[in-house]
Amino acid sequence: MALAALLRPALAQQAGHFYNIDKEIKIEGTIQEIRLEPRYENTARFLIIHLQQKNTSQKFNVEVSPAWFFSQDIHKGETMKVVGSVYTKGDGPQNIIAREIQYLGKTYAVRDKQGFPNWRGGPGGLQKRRRGKGA
């Protein structure tokens, strides 16, 4: 499914919604859904992938990067490995801020090991503040 068609309303932010290196995990799952959602103030929409873990069937929302940064063509039903920082929001599925994506045998780094976004300086720039709101 083409990425450009997947626009959805913004999700609410949480205080824990930052790349916490203490909570880094690695999962492998199947792509269930692909969305573009607003995540941070003053930035482009983010690519969000709904992933179902292979061995546990647990569902995760994976926050990848601004849609313009991750330009790979991804499809439902494909397998994807994600390294990222997990955070919980309410009773819904677990959320992961992705650092590294492995898809179709290729590895894509979207953040560095401290969670610094690799798309810095691109569309949207570095000038505006990004903030996470309280629960």
């Binding site: 930052f18 976004p117 503040r129 709101k133 309280g134």
Partner: protein, 415 residues
């Protein structure tokens, strides 16, 4: 010059000084960097304390965490700021970069301040706690930009590299100069040693030759007298043979005289000499030979030239050179030019002869070297010896078929 000398007198000192400069600069820069980081850390810690007081007041006034943090959004040097509750749960945070809050409970537990590396440069982090009057415990986590410090260090690094490059160039020139001076003096020293050895060898040979000449000369004189007596009393049919014998004895005597003259150290009596007079004497001495060969000896005067020299010796030296040129010239002329430059007088003797071959040229002033069947090969040697005794120099330029020019340079010109 040996490779060892090049290494010890150029490569080693040059690289040594550069290395020393590099080490000293690196230590110095490292020390300054650590000090500056300390000072900046203290300054930023002080700023964090002020910020903490301000935030405490806002929280006590009842402002929610997001409103409190929003008031620091425009602070350019704050990369991120987070407010945590007593259980170290993040209540709210603001960052200049999406999702970037490099907070780790593990690392925060140990230190209050630290410097972390990031793709945007170094970030100074402060983790500090405070309580409101109501007794609520909070933690503040701040990340300051060390951009200015980075700029300053980059500036220092750039200047260091410029200085290192300048040092390399200056060092290269300086040590090259030192090396050249060393090489020059080493060559001079080697030359002096060789000269000393040569003088010692010559002294030994001279002593030996003088002894031999003396021992031969006495019986030869007796033989000469006997020939004279025999000449007077010999019958007419033997008269010619006796005369020839006497001539040969005289010839041997002359050779021995020349040997003796050659090895005797020169004793000079310097006086004011006129070059024109010396040349005129030489022309007169060689007039018969010049006429017989049909090769005129021409003197091209410039202006009256006078110098302090031993006239007799100088005449002999120039005579030997002119005679050599005359003997080498079958047709044409021998031209003598004399001129002065400041107190230096130069006399050039040019001929239109066959010239000297390339292989013979370096040996032309060696004793007993001659390309002529009749010569003994001591004329030019004696000329050189006399000129050098006057602190002058003689050199020769020649090419086969292009004639030869001897250039004599003498100090002591009198104006």
């Amino acid at each position: 010059m040996r490779k060892k000398d090049f290494f010890f007198f150029f490569i080693l000192p040059f690289t040594g000084v550069l290395f020393l400069f590099f080490i000293l600069s690196a230590v110095n820069r490292s020390f300054i960097k650590a000090k500056v980081e300390d000072v900046v850390g203290e300054q930023l810690s002080a700023s964090a304390r002020i910020l903490k007081v301000h935030i405490t007041r806002l929280l006590e006034e009842g402002y929610p965490p997001d409103t409190v943090l929003r008031s620091y959004e425009e602070e350019e040097n704050i990369y991120f700021i987070a407010l945590l509750n007593g259980r170290k749960e993040i209540l709210d945070w603001v960052s200049r970069f999406e999702g970037y809050l490099p907070f780790s409970e593990r690392s925060a537990a140990g230190r209050d301040t630290q410097i972390i590396e990031s793709p945007i440069g170094k970030i100074f982090t402060v983790f500090t706690s405070f309580s409101t009057k109501a007794g609520a415990l909070y933690h503040l986590y701040l990340g300051y930009s060390l951009e200015n410090l980075e700029d300053m260090l980059a500036y220092s690094r750039r200047n260091f590299l410029y200085l290192l490059a300048a040092m390399a160039v200056v060092g290269l020139i300086f040590f090259r100069g030192v090396f050249e001076i060393h090489r020059h003096y080493l060559a001079k020293a080697e030359e002096a040693v060789a000269e000393k050895k040569e003088k010692e060898r010559f002294k030994e040979i001279s002593g030996f030759t003088a002894g031999v000449a003396h021992e031969i000369k006495n019986p030869l004189n007796s033989l000469g007298l006997l020939c004279q007596l025999l000449q007077n009393k010999a019958p007419a049919e033997l008269s010619e043979e006796v005369r020839l014998g006497q001539g040969e004895v005289q010839k041997i005597s002359r050779i021995i005289d020349q040997f003796s003259e050659m090895i005797t150290p020169l004793s000079m009596r310097k006086d004011v000499c006129r070059i024109a007079e010396i040349i005129a004497d030489i022309q007169a001495m060689l007039a018969a030979e010049s006429q017989a060969r049909g090769v005129p000896i021409e003197y091209i005067p410039t202006r009256p030239l006078v110098l302090l020299a031993d006239k007799m010796l100088l005449t002999q030296a120039v005579h030997n050179v002119v005679k050599n040129s005359l003997e080498a010239t079958a047709a044409g002329s021998v031209v003598i030019r004399a001129e002065s430059h400041r107190k230096k007088i130069s006399i050039a003797v040019s001929d239109s002869g066959t010239g000297i071959s390339e292989e013979d040229l370096p040996r032309i002033f060696e004793p007993f070297f001659s390309t002529k069947s009749t010569g003994m090969g001591i004329g030019l040697y004696v000329a050189k010896k006399i000129i050098e005794a006057h602190d002058g120099a003689i050199e020769v330029k020649s090419g086969q078929g292009r004639g030869t020019t001897f250039l004599i340079e003498l100090p002591g010109g009198v104006s």
